[in-house]
């Protein structure tokens, strides 16, 4: 299980579910706030910015997609999960796509109750959250620094700094991106790992630096 303490907002109209779900999440490293959908707007207006939100899809009055719209207005980088006991999600998926909502996963209700299933569920949840958060921050960073030449300004970008703040757990994701294409991840890798496998003569040579870091990761057993 990851050691990251993760704030999660759970939005569900069923009071019994809201009251029962907290302890299970907390056991697996989450700090949970469970609210009725009617409370979400006030929460956002008060400046609450949950890093992750798990939102029930089928709710009377306001459905999960509408709730997600409110949440993303407060924080476009919130990691979103939808939760449903219904099999039919096509129309919701279509609406989410049309609205540009980046959904980490569509989860099934009820949540697992056996220890074995719960272990697997929450481990996957932690992985999905990290993956989606990294993807959201990377997208924003790319949009904001695409025309910059200053390595310092690119690296001081708030999204890039938040990626660095994710710590060693994000290194495999950065290496995965580097394997796909060359990009300016070198400052982040140096800052997180405290290491630098790049020869001084290769500074600025993005292709050589990429190769050096991918090789470093392979030698460290980082998949």
């Amino acid at each position: 299980m990851s050691v990251i303490a993760e704030d999660v907002l759970i939005v569900d109209d069923e009071k019994a579910f809201r009251e029962s779900v907290g302890p299970a999440f907390e056991q697996y490293g989450f700090a949970v706030e469970a609210v009725d959908p009617g409370e979400v707007k006030a929460l956002v207006d008060r400046g609450s910015r949950p890093g992750t939100a798990i939102v029930d899809l089928y709710m009377p009055g306001i459905d999960g997609i509408a709730v997600a719209e409110i949440l993303t207005r407060g924080d476009p980088d919130v990691v979103l999960f939808f939760l449903t006991a219904q099999l039919e999600t096509q129309q919701f998926r279509a609406r989410a796509k049309k609205l540009g909502l980046r959904v980490a996963a569509w989860l099934e209700k009820p949540l697992p109750d056996s220890d074995r299933e719960a272990n697997s569920f929450f481990r996957t949840l932690h992985e999905r959250i990290l993956d989606q958060r990294f993807a959201n921050l990377t997208d924003r960073w790319r949009r904001e620094v695409g025309f910059m030449s200053s390595t310092s300004q690119m690296s001081m970008n708030p999204s890039y700094q938040r990626i660095i703040g994710l710590g060693p757990t994000v290194v495999p994701l950065i290496i995965r991106e580097l394997r796909k294409e060359p990009e300016h991840w070198f400052w982040a890798l140096k800052a997180i790992t405290g290491q630098d496998p790049v020869d001084e003569s290769a500074r600025g040579d993005v292709d050589s630096m990429r190769t050096a870091w991918v090789t470093w990761a392979e030698n460290k057993g980082i998949a």
Partner: protein, 151 residues
């Protein structure tokens, strides 16, 4: 819509020409120095290339010193002079943001960060993103390769 037009108000559909695809392999400083295989910047983390012996600070002085090594000296005007090749340094609040290099035609060539490189008028890229042109440098065009003269 061309995303450049929203970011650089001086650009319009007809006043620039995109000359290469986007790549993170080199930036405007490298391109001003006629290189297209590494990223130049005086970053303190020392991930980018910067000429050895030149201070790694985001300052006019550091950029002038770096390009002095390539034979450039500071000059006044950006107008074309047949015997010289010119480069321009853009700044925001005293901090270097961008460089451009003059072509034989008198127009300018720029690599926009990790994005494309393009041909443009010098003032077309001035504005919020890159600020204003504060430094012009020139060097003799004699013995300069065809690549650096933009042919």
């Amino acid at each position: 819509m061309n995303p450049l037009l929203g970011r650089f108000p001086g650009l319009s559909t007809g006043n620039h020409r995109i000359a290469s695809a986007a790549t993170p392999s080199y930036n405007c400083v490298a391109w001003a120095a006629a290189e297209d295989n590494r990223w130049w910047w005086p970053d303190p983390m020392e991930v980018s290339y910067w000429p050895p012996g030149i201070e790694r600070t985001e300052s006019i002085e550091a950029f002038i010193a770096a390009f002095s090594l390539l034979g450039y000296t500071r000059c006044e005007g950006s107008q074309q002079e047949a015997a010289f090749e010119k480069i321009a340094l853009y700044l925001v609040d005293g901090r270097p943001t961008h460089m451009a290099r003059q072509l034989k035609s008198g127009r300018w060539t720029s690599k926009l960060g990790s994005s494309i490189d393009m041909e443009h008028g010098l003032m077309d890229l001035a504005g919020n993103e890159y600020g204003s042109i504060v430094v012009i440098m020139r060097r003799s065009a004699v013995n300069v390769s065809s690549k650096t003269t933009g042919t």
